[in-house]
């Protein structure tokens, strides 16, 4: 069989909506694209533990503390499945972490924004996890088998997180005047960063074309963003808090809302490393990894000694 035949098989699988599995032949660009996307997704999960982890010690009730702790733990779990899915493409976890820690690999820019009040924990669940679900529901049907299967489980947990976030928002928005003010302020600060989560406008999205062709992605950035806005407006209305956009208006002809685009200059800057928490997030990851080095070494040395003992015996 020649290479051309392999490619034909790959194309035929895509055309028939079949999964591509780790041992299947795949074009090098497809593999590279997936490694980039899946590892970036994994990094986003573990960096995403930080802004919310920031409130574990200050969660205002024991129940809220348990819920938040379990949620942050879920994100660590998602990171774990995704690193494993990426490993099936021939890259090691160490290599991926090295790329994260040196700033070579990206993670979702939203996590470079700070969590300033308890309402932010609600807003992250509601908006950030809400936006993530929009993206991820389509990834359940992604062409790469391990990624698609990881996403099935992740989506279930994410929709739970979104409900938890909305529950916090509900308590805040219907709470005391101080709580309501925090809820509105959180929406004001997280709205545009959430819209940015779908990536640049389609016309300027460098990686979208191949991703759509390979069925790694199945819907365009702008399309998903529109759907997110349409869904979220009603939820904000229920909470009786306002989306910070004077141009937000129902458009009968497109059966959706018109809305202002986020500030893409700000987006580019945060991606470049100029967000208020970029430095802190990377430092926290590096610190945990570096200070954990002796722990990992001790575990490896101990396991080796135990192996030697059992071989000798």
């Amino acid at each position: 069989m020649s290479t051309i035949d392999f490619e034909a098989i790959f194309e035929a699988k895509l055309a028939n909506n079949e999964f591509i599995e780790p041992k299947d032949w795949m074009p090098e660009n497809y593999r590279k694209h997936l490694i980039r996307q899946v590892s970036q997704h994994a990094h986003s999960e573990i960096v995403g533990m930080l802004p919310e982890g920031n409130w574990i010690s200050r969660a205002p009730s024991l129940r809220a503390k348990l819920v938040l702790l379990a949620k942050v733990q879920d994100e660590g779990g998602h990171g774990l499945y995704l690193y494993t899915a990426a490993e099936s493409l021939g890259v090691s976890r160490d290599e991926m972490l090295e790329a994260l820690h040196t700033g070579k690999a990206k993670y979702s820019s939203i996590f470079n924004y700070p969590t300033l009040t308890w309402a932010d924990i609600g807003a992250i669940g509601w908006l950030v996890d809400g936006a993530a679900i929009m993206n991820q529901v389509m990834l359940q049907r992604s062409s790469y088998g391990p990624y698609s299967r990881a996403m099935v489980r992740i989506c279930k947990e994410e929709s739970f997180h979104q409900r938890q976030g909305y529950e916090i928002m509900t308590r805040m928005a219907f709470g005391t005047p101080d709580q309501k003010e925090m809820a509105q302020d959180a929406l004001n600060r997280w709205w545009y960063p959430s819209l940015m989560m779908f990536g640049p406008p389609d016309a300027e999205s460098p990686n979208s074309e191949n991703a759509l062709k390979w069925r790694i992605k199945r819907e365009s950035n702008d399309h998903l963003r529109q759907r997110f806005v349409d869904q979220t407006v009603v939820q904000a209305e229920y909470l009786n808090i306002s989306i910070p956009d004077k141009n937000l208006k129902w458009n009968e002809s497109k059966k959706g809302y018109d809305f202002s685009p986020p500030n893409w200059e700000e987006f580019k800057n945060v991606v470049k490393g100029n967000g208020i928490c970029n430095k802190e997030r990377l430092e926290a990851r590096n610190k945990a990894h570096n200070e954990g080095a002796w722990v990992r070494e001790a575990a490896a040395a101990y396991a080796k000694k135990q192996n030697q003992l059992s071989t000798a015996a």
Binding site: R58, L69, Q73, Y83, R171, Q179, A298
Partner: protein, 250 residues
């Protein structure tokens, strides 16, 4: 008798709560992902157990105080957690050795409490025994890894040992009137638990080439709600929101 049981419940629930508050600071910052998840699980168990105990304590007290009022609106001089639980996380050796000392103690204590004449306490304890069995397996295996891993891990374990050992005696200090609870079959005698605990810990540390020192001065005080300076900061952080907005419901 209810007042005495109430105070005893605070002693054990506060210990879990403060230790969980400490270890949950590792969430997102653990030495590697799998360990991050494991330690978070332990924190979840401890917070969950403290909720059940505080809820029951509030019912017994009969003044309508909820678990949250008990957790967030008592100050240092009304907290009865063991001194060892409020000690800083330090490095991972210190966190794990502190955990091993507490886990070994709790497994003995809660196994006895599961036979308590107080049925609610017995039921909470029975559930906890299953959890603590796993916690102990986890912390003991790390202590053994550190003791027998690398020179660095051994040195760190030894430093942690010197740091923490003087706080272990405090776990065996009874609250005022505890002997009455023992007599009535509500709670076990701490002196008996102490003997078993010392043997278990001696064996563990021997496996790690650490010899137990003799005649070390032991700190105490938590049975009378007398603490190290650490607790004030833990509570200030943990209680900040409910105290700033006492009218709010979260």
């Amino acid at each position: 008798m209810n007042e005495l049981v109430f105070k005893y419940l605070l002693r054990i629930s506060d210990s879990g709560l403060i230790l969980a508050q400490r270890i949950s600071a590792w969430t997102g910052h653990g030495p590697f992902l799998e360990e991050d998840l494991a330690l978070t699980n332990i924190a979840l168990d401890l917070f969950g157990r403290s909720r059940s105990l505080l809820d029951y304590a509030g019912n017994l007290e009969g003044k309508g105080r909820s678990e949250d009022e008990l957790a967030f609106f008592r100050n240092e001089r009304h907290y009865y957690n063991h001194l060892i639980c409020e000690q800083p996380n330090g490095d991972y050796a210190q966190t794990m050795l502190r955990q091993a000392f507490v886990d070994a103690f709790e497994l003995l204590l809660y196994t006895e409490l599961s036979k308590s004449k107080d049925q609610t306490l017995a039921a909470i304890a029975a559930k906890s025994v299953k959890e603590i069995t796993y916690h102990k397996r986890h912390s003991f295996s790390w202590v053994k890894r550190f003791g027998n891993g690398t020179q660095e891990s051994f040195t760190r374990l030894q430093n942690a040992f010197h740091e923490l050992w003087p706080y272990t005696g405090d776990m065996f200090e009874p609250i005022e009137g505890e002997t009455d609870l023992v007599k009535n079959g509500f709670v076990p005698d701490l002196q008996k638990i102490k003997t078993d605990w010392e043997k278990i810990i001696k064996d563990l540390l021997e496996e790690c080439n650490i010899r137990l020192p003799e005649n070390v001065y032991m700190h105490s005080g938590s049975a009378k709600a007398l603490h190290t300076e650490h607790l004030g900061f833990i509570l200030a952080e943990m209680q900040s929101l409910p105290r700033a907005y006492p009218e709010a419901k979260w």
